[in-house]
Amino acid sequence: MAHSEQPTPDRIGPMWTPSREPSRPTWGWILQAVTGALVLILVTLHMIANHFVVAGGLRDFADVVAYLSNPVVVVLEVLFLVVVTAHGLLGLRAVLFDFGLGPRLEAAITRVLAVLGVAIVAYGLWLTWTITSYH
């Protein structure tokens, strides 16, 4: 093999080192891509359902309650909330990470955004529960 003949190049310059994060980034990318695709589908459904299915779109409070009385709608809207939250916060994380803030701050950002995500979904579930149980 010709390469083995080459003198093993001594380390050249200040070596770039892998960041050695415990979580491999591939899953982050796959998650971002999958949630992105789901958001694309669900936002389309959301818009059509909200604005076209009922003539003139969802208008007053009664419309909203009626809309959410359909369990399929509830499932879709909750799923939409989950994926859009994940996608948005992953995106925000990527934006912030591009500023080279350093591993400690980045780890803190990840934790804060994870908590924020859980809080948003919890809030959405509570809201849905409140509306669907409104009579």
Binding site: P14, G36, T130
Partner: protein, 143 residues
């Protein structure tokens, strides 16, 4: 460097450490010299952040639903105003750009259509422009 100094090693370089690094948000958003994909990246960021801002607002507004019919219906009447409708058009633009560019980024990110990504971007933008036009007309006329 004195006459006696021997060799040039990386950390020395120039004493004043001058570099041509374009740092921070200015370097990030500087549109000069950007090519098509570069603009797509900047716009993807801006629309993503914009939509995120909208969603936060949207979630806060939805809390009105929890306060009963009167609170909500009061807001809905406000949402029909021309200013709000124009805002809706901007929102649709943001969603369309981010979503359509996202299709490109996702496909190429899985190693697909990489060679034709530029053409794909142009094609997606044409589709986006058409949808935006139709949506705008719909929003501004039908309301």
């Amino acid at each position: 460097m004195s006459e006696q100094s021997v060799g040039r090693t990386a950390p020395e370089r120039r004493a004043d450490g001058a570099s041509t690094r374009r740092r921070g948000i200015v370097g990030w958003g500087d549109p000069r010299g950007r090519r098509l994909g570069g603009f797509a990246f900047i716009l993807n960021r801006l629309t993503g952040l914009g939509v995120l801002l909208y969603l936060s607002f949207h979630l806060v507004v939805l809390s009105l639903l929890a306060r009963g019919p009167s609170a909500w219906d009061g807001f809905v009447s406000l949402a029909g105003s021309p200013l709000f409708l124009c805002f809706d058009v901007v929102l649709i633009f943001g969603l369309l750009f981010h979503g359509l560019n996202g299709i490109r980024v996702t496909l190429v990110g899985f190693g697909l259509v990489v060679d034709r990504q530029r053409a794909m971007l142009v094609a997606l933008m044409v589709i986006g422009a058409i949808v935006l036009l139709i949506a705008s007309v719909h929003i501004l006329t039908v309301g």
